[in-house]
């Protein structure tokens, strides 16, 4: 498969599919120049963090928290171990961008993590890679071996007295481990059950030591910021939304895939890059930031730009940048049923509102979809969702509640039709044609 870059790419620029991920090509593309710059020009940790703050880089995993600020929470002059951890446990339905970074440009993540390690005084890091993408774990291990052999990780990097060791850890099928404290538990060899916060990882993280966890794409953005300056990165996007962002576009478009574009790009422009709507059908709804983000009707979405603030203003979240596109052939009840099943299946079981509530949500949406809904189910669903959100240790409870509340809010008549007529508003054969096996765009 060819590389997924666009003319505006910086993270995925200049790649040639599976052929150029190795260190030799990475260095030809200017790789490891940022780490060299940091160590050889004598940049201080404070200067690096200031540069990252200027870039207005916000966490690419979903929360959108300012990265520079997060890094500044790490204790200075802490004499013991500190850790930097990369979250490549990409399993939020709709999200598949970190996969392409790891597949086509793994050294970018290694370089970003090494710079982060230097900026925060960490001498050890881990990259937690989603178990389902096994070949990427193996590739990352190979990339680490290359980087170690070239002296970019290990002891006394570039002879400048900086020690940084980096290792890969694989997940093995648990969505919850994308939650940062569940991920830490998982590295510690336990069930991935989120920790109560505070204390936050910056004070009590991996093995009880100060730890910063960032998303793969966040670390991947760091070398460019160091090479070109925080202001230049900021200027690629829009105020408070610095840089480019890799969007994972799935669903009813002609060319599903990853697209790296500047934050602030209008949604219709992104849709056009994806070849427009499949079969020329009409846009019905979009989940703009992964399955946990509230769904938005197509007409609202067409007025949005793809950045944290615009999507938040429209009532959803940019999240991980996973854009799930649904056309007029989609049954919203069936779609919600599948998502609700997912959260029920993936709840770690620790908090009662989530463990029990996600089951309630799924069973109720399931019975509506299967013609057994009752007139008061919609209000009960909303009520159950409200009683999960905000009442759990981690955000999985919220993530299960948001789709339910937003699907009913925006598509209530469709749910009511289901309850009343005991069948879909959209004829089943139309649904099946709209969501048939679609591989025409693929380089099979």
């Amino acid at each position: 498969m060819s590389s997924p870059d666009t003319p505006q790419s910086i993270l995925l620029a200049g790649l040639d599919g599976d052929n150029t991920w190795g260190i030799e090509h990475y260095m030809k593309r200017g790789g490891y120049s940022a780490l060299r710059k940091v160590l050889e020009s004598g940049m201080t940790p404070e200067q690096i963090i200031a540069e990252v703050k200027k870039s207005e880089l916000r966490g690419r995993g979903g929360a959108g928290f300012p990265t520079g600020l997060k890094w500044s929470f790490m204790p200075r002059n802490f004499p013991m171990d500190k850790y930097v951890v990369c979250n490549s446990d990409e399993g939020e339905p709709g999200t598949f961008k970190d996969r392409d970074i790891l597949r086509f440009n793994p050294h970018l993540v290694i370089e970003g993590m090494a710079i982060a390690g230097f900026a925060m005084g960490c001498s050890r890091g881990y990259n937690y890679i989603h178990g389902e993408v096994w070949s990427l774990y193996e590739r990352f291990e190979q990339a680490l071996a290359e980087a170690r052999a070239a002296g970019f990780i290990g002891r006394n990097i570039l002879g400048k007295g900086f020690d940084f060791e980096l290792f890969a850890h694989h997940g093995w099928g648990a969505y919850i481990c994308g939650e940062e404290t569940a991920l830490l538990e998982s590295i510690e060899g336990k069930k991935g059950q989120p920790r109560f916060k505070p204390p936050f990882p910056a004070s009590h993280g991996l093995y009880g030591k100060p730890t910063t966890i960032n998303n793969t794409e966040t670390f991947a953005s760091i070398p460019w910021i160091i090479d070109h300056g925080g202001e230049a990165f900021q200027a690629l996007g829009k105020p408070n939304n610095g840089g480019t962002k890799i969007f994972s576009v799935s669903g009813h478009v002609n060319r599903p895939g990853v697209y790296e574009i500047p934050l602030g790009t209008p949604f219709p422009a992104l849709l056009e890059m994806c070849g427009g709507m499949r079969g020329g059908r009409k846009l019905k709804a979009v989940i703009p930031g992964g399955s946990s983000a509230p769904v938005l009707p197509g007409d609202i979405m067409m007025d949005c730009t793809m950045d944290y603030d615009s999507i938040a203003k429209a009532g959803s979240m940019l999240g991980s940048g996973a854009v799930i596109v649904m056309d007029e052939s989609t049954c919203m009840v069936k779609s919600l049923e599948r998502l609700s099943y997912f959260y029920h299946e993936e709840s770690c079981g620790q908090c009662t509102p989530c463990r029990e509530g996600t089951g309630w949500l799924y069973r109720m949406v399931h019975r509506i979809e299967h013609g057994e809904g009752r007139p008061d189910d919609l209000d009960t669903l909303d009520n159950v969702a409200s009683n999960i959100a905000g009442r759990t240790i981690c955000a999985l409870g919220d993530a299960a509640a948001f789709p339910v509340k937003s699907f009913i809010k925006h598509f209530r008549p469709e749910f009511e039709y289901h309850v009343e007529h005991k069948r879909c508003l959209v004829p089943v054969e139309v649904q099946r044609e709209g969501s048939r096996i679609y591989v025409e765009h693929a380089a099979c």
Binding site: D81, E90, G91, E92, P93, G94, T95, F96, D98, R99, R124, Y126, H130, G131, E132, V133, W134, S135, F167, A168, H169, H170, G171, W172, G173, A174, Y175, E188, G189, K190, K191, G192, Y207, S248, V249, S250, G251, H252, P256, G257, V258, S291, I324, V325, M326, T330, R338, L339, F342, E345, E346, C348, R432, G434, S435, R436, I437, Y438, V439, C444
Partner: protein, 169 residues
């Protein structure tokens, strides 16, 4: 546990290659944190044995010098560990929403039809076990199938499903 599995086939010892692979994992973690290698250890034992029998889980725990229950908790929490016997080929089809919109669900129906089994079932000849997958993080490749945890198959049309199932003897 499945009654048809005899006591004899359930006895388990980590072989040399598995022990060496676990040693490499243990070395990634700080002194005294060998427990961090339990996820990899269980994966390695599963690869050796075909599934994670209680004996295999215990062998990993013993090798890492951790309580057997700690390893059991991990083995039963993460869904790619098979704590019950599976067929020679475990086929996982993602049917989550993003995949379903591009045919994930219809691909799963086709596999069910071809194998004559439903999700969480194994063909009578022990060749295939079919599972419904949750997000694999490859939604752009829908329909997506993972074989035996490590082999990802993308854009699975009916023709490609035919070819895959023919290939897996």
């Amino acid at each position: 546990m499945n009654d048809t599995v005899s006591k004899e086939t359930m006895s388990f010892a980590l072989n040399e290659a598995s022990r060496a692979a676990i040693d490499r994992e243990v070395a990634k973690y700080p002194e005294g944190q060998a427990i961090s290698a339990v996820m990899a250890g269980l994966r390695i034992a599963q690869e050796q044995n075909g599934w994670l029998s209680p004996e295999a889980i215990e062998a990993v725990a013993d090798y890492l010098a951790i309580p057997a229950m700690a390893a059991m908790e991990v083995a039963t929490f993460y869904n790619m560990y098979d704590v019950k016997p599976v067929g020679r080929w475990k086929i996982v089809v993602c049917t989550n929403l993003p995949c379903a919109l591009s045919g994930g669900e219809q691909a799963a129906e086709y596999v069910q039809e071809k194998l004559g089994i439903g999700f969480n079932e194994t063909t009578p000849d022990g060749r295939f076990t079919l599972k419904e997958g949750e997000c694999m993080g490859v939604c752009g490749d829908a329909p997506a199938i993972i074989v035996n945890n490590t082999r990802l198959c993308s854009w699975m049309s009916r023709e490609k499903i035919d070819a895959l199932l023919d290939e897996l003897k």
